[in-house]
Symmetry: C2
Subunit: 234 residues, 2 copies
DNA sequence: TCGCAGTCGATTGTCGACAATCGACTGGCG
DNA sequence: CGCCAGTCGATTGTCGACAATCGACTGCGA
């Protein structure tokens, strides 16, 4: 329980709040902390070996990010994820990614599409090796890169909050290997359309690509009834 | 220093954190706290008559919302607003509002467009009376309503963070009355296009409408050099 | 037995004090 | 005179304790 005054083995030596934040966020995004799970501050604080002050600050941030849901004097829970949430998530994803692609194409000879190709190639290799985890990581990087290439900082930050929840959904769902490989292969026509500056095709492909992934994830999703986001008032 | 147990001018008597949050956010959005302004926790806390704990929680939230910028052990400042930020803000606005309109039209006979007309009429009256403040408020409500009518909760929450910064920009800029009246009148063809389900026209009009407002605001904007968001590394 | 008011325990909200960190100042040394 | 190490002050970061609030339990009375 006592921590050495200078423990040298922690590399990213940021503030406690930041480390708590990263820890909790990662746990939520990994599905380790499932939607509906209740967090008790006292418990969690002693569990993490910190006081409640920085923990609470981290919780406020996660509330704002939409990952936690605190009701005053009652408790904090991991935010529920309904089927509707997933549908909204993926429909907004399409909008944001389409925007990114339009911007990339608009500044085309300037931006370098090589990173996309590299990621795609690695993705194929991982798919061949049935390394599903790695495919998912690379897919995330692919879409993150796409957004970043737009050169639109506000879009990047908006994306990151959407992408977080996408990641959370994916952690709670196990797609079939065949589906994931299929999705992986879908990337190449998209890359080519972007490189050739073919906006109609590129935007059509991204919409199709994202929507089909979203349908796969939303399919058969059952909202946890005990953690519904809305209640009818009588 | 002592606050009356029930000071009647604060309506929503929620937690201290919430009240501090609202107070600070409003001050930033009003332009009362200008970009670059430094907040000192101890000062601000005693000024508000609260301790630093809830104040810090509010600050973390405002950081996450992108209104404040805290650098560790150094200080918290109101986030700078560069010309580029404004351009990004308005380009994303177009994307989000276009999406909202597409969704509204898609479910058309179901949604009621009367609120838009009502707001528009009030806007015209206020414009006639040269009540610029009220025109701005109504304009905000108009666009908020448009987003809300999409029935897309995630879009609403994404919008709210964009809309906050838009509000901040507007508070720092004084548009000419003639420009504002012009903008007010632009709303009616948009409403009609939406009601008639004419998606191409409606999306074209919203893009035009928002872009021209954005150009007006970004025009002649000078980034405060002392609060630049990025530094070149040598 | 049923309804209800009071109490109790658990949990969140707030506070004041202390620790850690960083920049600026300062004083000595080459 | 210039430079560097040490110190100091101001500010943020963290802690433990106390206060406020809410739900559930309990026991009294009709």
């Amino acid at each position: 329980m006592e921590k050495p005054p200078t423990s040298f083995h922690q590399i990213g030596n940021k503030s406690l709040r930041e480390r708590i934040l990263t820890t909790l966020r990662e746990a939520i995004l990994n599905g380790e902390l499932r939607p509906g799970h209740t967090l008790v501050e006292t418990e969690l604080a002693s569990q993490l070996g910190v006081s409640r002050a920085p923990l609470r600050e981290a919780i406020q941030i996660l509330n704002t990010e939409g990952l936690l849901d605190t009701v005053p004097y009652h408790g904090t829970t991991v935010k529920a994820l309904t089927k509707r949430d997933i549908e909204e998530l993926y429909s907004l994803r399409i909008v944001l990614e389409t925007f990114a692609i339009r911007r990339i194409i608009a500044q085309l000879p300037e931006v370098d599409t090589a990173p996309l190709r590299t990621l795609f190639e690695q993705m194929l290799i991982a798919a061949d090796q049935d390394d599903i985890t790695r495919v998912n990581v690379l897919d995330r990087e692919f879409h993150d890169t796409l957004i970043a290439m737009s050169g639109h900082k506000l879009l990047v930050s908006t994306w990151s909050s959407v992408a977080m929840r996408v990641r959370q959904v994916m952690s709670l769902r196990n797609l079939r290997n065949s589906d994931i490989k299929q999705i992986a292969h879908n990337h190449i026509p998209l890359i080519e359309a972007i490189e050739r500056g073919d906006e109609p095709t590129a935007t059509m492909l991204i919409a199709q690509h994202v929507a089909s992934a979203g349908d796969l994830l939303a399919e058969d999703w059952q909202d946890d009834p005990s953690t519904a986001t809305e209640e009818d008032q009588p």
